[in-house]
């Protein structure tokens, strides 16, 4: 259903993230130099302290809804109205996503609602991390 939405073009520094989503893992990075901060989007160094001593880890996939807007203009891959959301991951970083298995209304989309990641396969190379209300019917 999302065949025509714009898809990401991975780069060397982000390949681990997109390989992760294709394997059903949400991967973040963490600074191993002492500051310990988890960060996103991917890069080969810590954005807080500049250290290149960083590692990739599997995130829990839990998040809460930070903010969103509901666009009322359809574009390729998106039938209006659709919400563009920003979620705060349990590990701290924020990411843009869509909220699925949920009505795209202000009533259904409550800020701070608990969410969990779902993986939406687009093709052999790309799977997008989307989020649904935590505990939504499987």
């Amino acid at each position: 259903m999302d065949a025509s939405r714009p898809l990401p073009t991975p780069t060397p520094e982000t390949a681990h993230f997109w390989e992760g989503t294709s394997q059903g893992e949400l991967r973040l990075q963490r600074c191993d130099a002492g500051c310990g901060a988890a960060y996103f989007p991917p890069r080969a160094f810590c954005p807080r302290c500049g250290s290149r001593d960083v590692s990739v880890f599997r995130a829990s996939g839990d998040a809460v809804l930070y903010s969103y807007t509901i666009s009322h203009r359809s574009i390729p891959g998106f039938e209006a109205p659709y919400a563009i959301a920003v979620v705060t991951l349990a590990e701290g970083p924020r990411m843009m996503t869509n909220i699925v298995e949920c009505e795209q209304t202000p009533q259904a989309l409550q800020l701070d609602m608990p969410l969990e990641v779902v993986f939406a396969r687009q093709n052999d190379a790309i799977t997008l991390p989307l989020f649904r209300p935590k505990g939504a019917a499987r």
């Binding site: 939405r5 714009p6 898809l7 990401p8 073009t9 991975p10 780069t11 982000t14 997109w18 989007p41 930070y66 903010s67 969103y68 807007t69 509901i70 666009s71 009322h72 203009r73 574009i75 891959g77 998106f78 109205p81 659709y82 563009i84 959301a85 920003v86 924020r94 990411m95 843009m96 996503t97 869509n98 202000p106 800020l111 997008l128």
Partner: protein, 381 residues
């Protein structure tokens, strides 16, 4: 930099404003430039520095017959031209050039010879981590922080709708404003939904237009009529990705830019007679009022509702009608400065009596960056 050592000695907008189908993007830049040169009593041969965004400054120099010793193509979004003024002031101060022309021209409505809206390139972080989720231009990005801000501070849709209502009151006083008919909160909330919680009247216009500013050192400003001095400037940047801003309750770039400009000018908030806050969408003046320090966090909506920024209020804001009602070609920062300069010259359609200090505050992208400029008509503050 020492306050009041650089002055605006020429300033003008395009001859027409709003719908200008007979001029291309570079033509709008040139029209504004020629108007500003005429305002200053100068010719292109008097200019040795040029800055612009959208159009190449090289193309513009050649178009106008200028042989520059200094150019700046800083292109960060709507407040680029405000950054150009700051950068030009530093360049003049450093002796790299003497007389700088900053221009803006954009065929936002008629799309004549216009740049397409920038789309992230393949592999750019926005292309990987924002585009796949349905962003489609400013109305779907600039708006994302608003619901969080509204929840944090208890701001309702009715309070958000008050921003365009008050600005329309100012626009009604300005014959050049695109939209001048008074509107009510009910009118705003009944207008077409664009991207929740934003309705059409909470979103800026899409216009054709432009403007230009000529700067030189203050010691030369006595040769010109009505010089307006640069008392202080600040700039900052945060993220081109709206999803990666530090907070949606406040703009870090706004706070840093504003604090730098106020500190350089050595002014307090009570000294400010007139304020311009770049308003691409209705929530930005709320962030601006708070992050510049005119209101405490969360108090700006009440401040506007209580008519402090309205005609007759103690702090007139966006007196041209703003991007919501005056004009908005896409990169609105030039018009923010033009209205501040008109107010400092005493020639604004909705003139603030005896105004001596005007603060102009701009935004780049979607809270991506910021520039703040303190203008004054006083040779010394």
């Amino acid at each position: 930099m020492k306050p009041n050592t650089i002055a605006v000695v020429g300033a003008a907008e395009t001859t027409d404003m709003g719908h200008i189908p007979n001029l291309s993007q570079i033509g709008l830049n040139a029209d504004a430039a020629l108007n500003a040169l005429a305002d200053a009593g100068l010719t292109p041969g008097d200019i040795d520095g040029v800055a612009t965004a959208g159009e190449s400054p090289i193309a513009l120099c050649h178009h106008l017959g200028i042989k520059p010793a200094w150019i700046d193509a800083t292109t960060v979004g709507g407040c680029s031209f405000m950054m150009h003024v700051r950068h030009a002031a530093a360049a003049i101060h450093a002796g790299q050039c003497k007389t700088v022309l900053v221009t803006h021209g954009e065929s936002g409505r008629s799309r004549q010879g216009a740049l397409p809206f920038p789309i992230p390139y393949r592999g750019q972080l926005e292309q990987q981590f924002e585009m796949p989720f349905g962003i489609a231009g400013a109305p779907t990005m600039f708006t994302i922080p608003a619901l969080r801000y509204m929840k944090t501070f208890g701001v309702t849709e009715e309070m958000l709708a008050t921003v365009p209502v008050i600005q329309r009151e100012w626009a009604a006083l300005n014959p050049r404003a695109t939209l001048r008919t008074p509107v009510t909160v009910e009118d705003v909330l009944a207008s077409k939904i664009i991207s929740y919680p934003f309705r059409l009247l909470m979103c800026c216009l899409v216009s054709d237009g432009g403007g230009a500013i000529i700067l030189t050192s203050a010691d030369r400003a006595a040769d010109f009529a009505r010089p307006v001095y640069i008392a202080g400037t600040g700039e900052s940047a945060e993220s081109t990705m709206v999803s990666q801003l530090e907070s949606y309750d406040s703009s870090r770039a706004f706070r840093m830019s504003g604090a730098a400009a106020f500190a350089e000018a050595g002014i307090r908030h009570a000294d400010v007679d007139h304020l311009m806050i770049y308003d691409a969408f209705a929530h930005i003046p709320l962030y601006g009022l708070e992050d510049l320090g005119f209101c405490k966090p969360g108090e700006a909506a009440d401040f506007i509702r209580d008519r402090h920024t309205a005609p007759g209020g103690a702090l007139p804001v966006n007196t041209n009608g703003g991007g919501l009602s005056y004009a908005h070609s896409g990169m609105y920062g030039m018009y923010v400065m033009q209205e501040s300069i008109r107010q400092m010259r005493g020639v604004a359609p909705a003139q603030v009596p005896d105004a001596k200090i005007s603060v102009a505050h701009g935004v780049a992208g979607w809270f991506s960056g910021s520039t703040t400029i303190v203008f004054t008509n006083q040779a010394q503050l």
